[in-house]
Amino acid sequence: METAITLNHFLFVSGVLFAIGLAGVLVRRNLIIIFMCLELMLAAANLTLVAFSRFNLKDGQPDYEGHVLLFFIITVAAAEVAVGLAIIVALFRSKGTTDVTKVDTMKY
């Protein structure tokens, strides 16, 4: 069975990966793991961008504007991770834990 790979295949993988990341954000309680799942969702969205850029040919070439957008997304993600992890370290210093259920001062 040789069914050709279509755009739907890539979009489905991307959607399922996004759903896995979302489930991780909802289920896990460790702040670092939650942050990693956020990154997973971001990377899943990247796959959609690349797939659309590849299937939308311009003069027989892929649409490179999608790649440029992806370049910016990766840069911003790197900056975001650095700042986020610094905030987590600061939180750990003041509370001594990264468990989100134990950081509930603002809840009451």
Binding site: I5, V13, I20, G21, V27, M36, A43, F55, L85
Partner: protein, 169 residues
Amino acid sequence: MTFLFYIFAALALVGGIGVVVNRNPVSAAFAMILSFLGLAALFIQLDAYLVGVLQILVYAGAIMVLFIFIIMLLDVQAEEKRRFPLFNILGAGGVAVAFGALLLVILKRSEVGTASIPPIEPLEGPGTSDVHRIGELLFSQYWFPIQVVGVLLLVATIGVVVLSKKELK
């Protein structure tokens, strides 16, 4: 080519599931690297060579090293086991299955998505690689965004230094 897609898509998804189900944070981080490698292979299958390499260098390399460094710095313990009520399991499973079914239905109905990968016109000579073309776009049409991103990186660096000081004032 077809079976390669399935192998790497499975790699990306299994890695993603590994991040969610692993109790040990270090194992979760390594599962995440696996997922990113599968994703990078999918990018390269889509002829996005620069982006695929960037994915490995920046995500699987730099970002995950940062995560593992912080996990070991904070000495994060594995999450203790907890019992999930039946209602929670049913709810989470129901949401996941409903999402997958919805995605399938929507993708089945779309006419755009049934196209197979269109062939790229082969180009010869210098200046035809995707690195060259993306670089040209970045430094001509997108010159302003790239300056802004440079400032953003500087702001992030200063912010991290301020945040990691011993006492915040």
